[in-house]
């Protein structure tokens, strides 16, 4: 063993991470982790709306990743993308954070970055307006998600969303998103 578990535990502790899952996730895993975080927050006597917001953001982030993977399911290099996901939930002082990352195709970075920049620039009223527009838009055949996840995450966060892109090679970029409640 080149890294002892106690060192990994210390790293998680230093990063204030309570729950983390790395690897291919399914709807079943999302459910179980979601229930676990709810239970944990309940035991810590958090108000119901805080639990609700953390849970909501967690679900939207992980389902966004799963929906992205579903779109890529016919790509040859799919395995590499689907096993690249990680999600962490942590608590720093009184704030909870939901922090996720996954590989995306380099060609998907630009539109995603534009969308994130737009969402980050909007205040809560503007986000509500955009949310309403998306809510009332007709769905396209074969559409998986509602295209509202990021807007919802920004609305439920108490601080502006944080994100980054780090190009790994000529095919993929690692995309991170962090929301704080």
């Amino acid at each position: 063993m080149n890294k002892r578990l106690i060192e990994i535990q210390k790293m998680l502790g230093d990063s204030h991470i309570l729950i983390s899952f790395s690897g291919r996730f399914s709807q079943g895993i999302i459910q179980e982790l979601g229930e676990a975080i709810k239970e944990h927050m309940k035991n810590e006597d958090n108000p119901k709306n805080k639990i609700y917001n953390v849970f909501s953001i967690f679900i939207e982030q992980t389902q966004n990743i799963n929906n992205y993977f579903a779109i890529k399911k016919n790509d040859i290099i799919n395995e590499e993308i689907t096993s690249s996901a990680i999600v962490c939930i942590g608590k720093s002082k009184e704030d909870y954070f939901i922090w996720s990352g996954n590989l995306v195709n380099n060609s998907d970075v630009h539109p995603l970055n534009e969308q994130l920049n737009l969402i980050r620039s909007l205040n809560k009223d503007e986000l509500k307006k955009l949310y309403k527009e998306q809510l009332k838009k007709d769905i396209q055949p074969g559409q998986n998600g509602a295209g509202m996840g990021l807007i919802d995450i920004a609305r439920k966060s108490s601080l502006p969303i944080e994100y980054s892109f780090e190009e790994r090679d000529k095919s993929f970029t690692f995309y991170e998103l962090k929301a704080i409640v």
Partner: protein, 127 residues
């Protein structure tokens, strides 16, 4: 008109239609992997059902959704829009949205749907 019943799962709500009281109720949290797939049969059923309701006859939609993800929210909006159309055609519909008084986020969610939907809409705390 027949009864309609779908059992709740961890990620999908219970759906129940009572033909005697003309009440459609959707109860429980909703965040399935594919919400459109889950709600599509219900939305289709609604189309057929609404034409059978006589003008002026009272019909109720009861909603109690402790948590819904964004794609389920979109489906709920589609259901409310079906009812809006029905009201325009002379049907009499009331929406009762139940929420947990201790959770202000649930109330905000209910209030937003009330604002977005043009329907008679009551927001009622759970007892």
């Amino acid at each position: 008109m027949e009864q309609l019943y779908l059992e709740a799962t961890k990620t999908t709500p219970e759906v129940n239609f009572n033909p005697d009281t003309k009440t459609l109720s959707i109860k429980g949290q909703s965040y399935p992997e594919n919400a459109f797939k889950y709600f599509e049969p219900l939305i289709k059923w609604l189309d057929e059902f609404i034409v059978q309701v006589e003008d002026g006859e009272q019909m109720q939609l009861e909603l109690s959704l402790p948590y819904i993800n964004t794609s389920s929210s979109k489906c709920i909006m589609m259901i409310l829009e079906k009812f809006e159309e029905a009201v325009e055609k002379g049907k009499n519909i009331v929406v009762n949205w139940f929420y947990d008084e201790e959770n202000e986020s649930e109330l905000e969610c209910a209030m937003e749907f009330k604002e977005f939907a043009d329907l008679e809409f009551n927001i009622i705390p759970n007892r």
